[in-house]
Symmetry: D2
Subunit: 136 residues, 4 copies
Amino acid sequence: MSNTPSSTPAGSGEFRALAEAIHAFVAEREWQPFHDPKNLAMAVAVEAAELMEHFRWCSSEQSRAVLADPRARPEIEHEVADVLILLIEFCSIAGIDPAAAVRAKLQLNAQRYPVALSKGHSRKYNDLQRPDSTTG
Amino acid sequence: MSNTPSSTPAGSGEFRALAEAIHAFVAEREWQPFHDPKNLAMAVAVEAAELMEHFRWCSSEQSRAVLADPRARPEIEHEVADVLILLIEFCSIAGIDPAAAVRAKLQLNAQRYPVALSKGHSRKYNDLQRPDSTTG
Amino acid sequence: MSNTPSSTPAGSGEFRALAEAIHAFVAEREWQPFHDPKNLAMAVAVEAAELMEHFRWCSSEQSRAVLADPRARPEIEHEVADVLILLIEFCSIAGIDPAAAVRAKLQLNAQRYPVALSKGHSRKYNDLQRPDSTTG
Amino acid sequence: MSNTPSSTPAGSGEFRALAEAIHAFVAEREWQPFHDPKNLAMAVAVEAAELMEHFRWCSSEQSRAVLADPRARPEIEHEVADVLILLIEFCSIAGIDPAAAVRAKLQLNAQRYPVALSKGHSRKYNDLQRPDSTTG
């Protein structure tokens, strides 16, 4: 059946191996009915917030020390993993090849953020001064 | 120098290749100063919310159709990629091997969510009825 | 001193009373140094995700029942309060009058979402078919 | 009918006035079917992330300057308003009195964060050293 959720992880190599491990975990527990795109996108955002929570009250400089804190570090690794697990599962459901999506987006970003215009600052692409810009 | 941000992506295979491509992209634009753990965790959460935005007002059932919408689909692929790019970059900065973190978390989840107790429902592990539970 | 954080809550009435109670709570604990706009915006997003977490795996229809669950309900009320506390504190720091901001945004939304074009669907304002639209 | 969505905003004063204005806006556009607790919690989180986006790459110190930026400021006010609008609407749907919820949570926080244990640092309440703590 073609649209059984999570039945055919897209992608290859490491991502595919992880997607299959996640798929087996989900299937054993019969959790597929909960794993529609809406719920998975919410779950990714919930886990991303849990990762962020560790850095909520520290400064950017202090945030490197948080990573080295022996109590926080394993939790941070688990939060990273949770985001990744749910994102890979989202990709399986959606038929998205995660590594291919990253490569395509890096190419788009290379056009949006030409080195000459982007160096050393963090302005968004639609705020960059371009030679052909009407706001230039 | 060992703690130059983003200098030594952890992990191997596909993740390492992506981490290196991201690192080169960031280095060319001299964006390393912005990429501390706090900022990257925020950025992951921002992109996760942009992914979620596509599914905000639809039902879970409709969310599969959203994925098939020719206008929404490429945007969804880009949002997935943005989350993944920033998460891989976070891992590079933090010295976390993403695939190893996923495998370790799946092992922990297998203990937290024994098949017999977890089948077919979505209760959180600390709400599962266990034989040895004092609330059982 | 003019830029003491949180010293002059904007707004009036109920919002001002809450802003002052929050301000006193923060000042007693000497937490002002943590309450810059960046940290508060992160904290609002963290609490918003905790509110969302309660509805992650249920359907839209089931989400009304979640609200009535005697275990979930008090937690949901606390999460709502956490978002509101941090948002009001953000407004105090930023000199934003929350109720005035809401009224101004409702006016803008009324322009962006004319009743005739918006009735019964959830398209974003830049996707609405307008008589003067070049994409119409 | 008692459980018509959004029909009876809880609360009083300013919050009630805003809840009624939001309710009228929603009703005119027949958007009530989209406004279940799950969708509204997602929408709150999406808007919270849009607020946060303005502070993603700046430092905590720079974030005060972002607030003063004439291009960013009106957008930040709109994002604050969007979070608040959706949170007030969530409260209307859920029968939560927002101001009462804030006062109840501040009382709970006062117990969780006694001044003597909380002054000048940002540790979470379950990490505070208490005289009666078994981990003390």
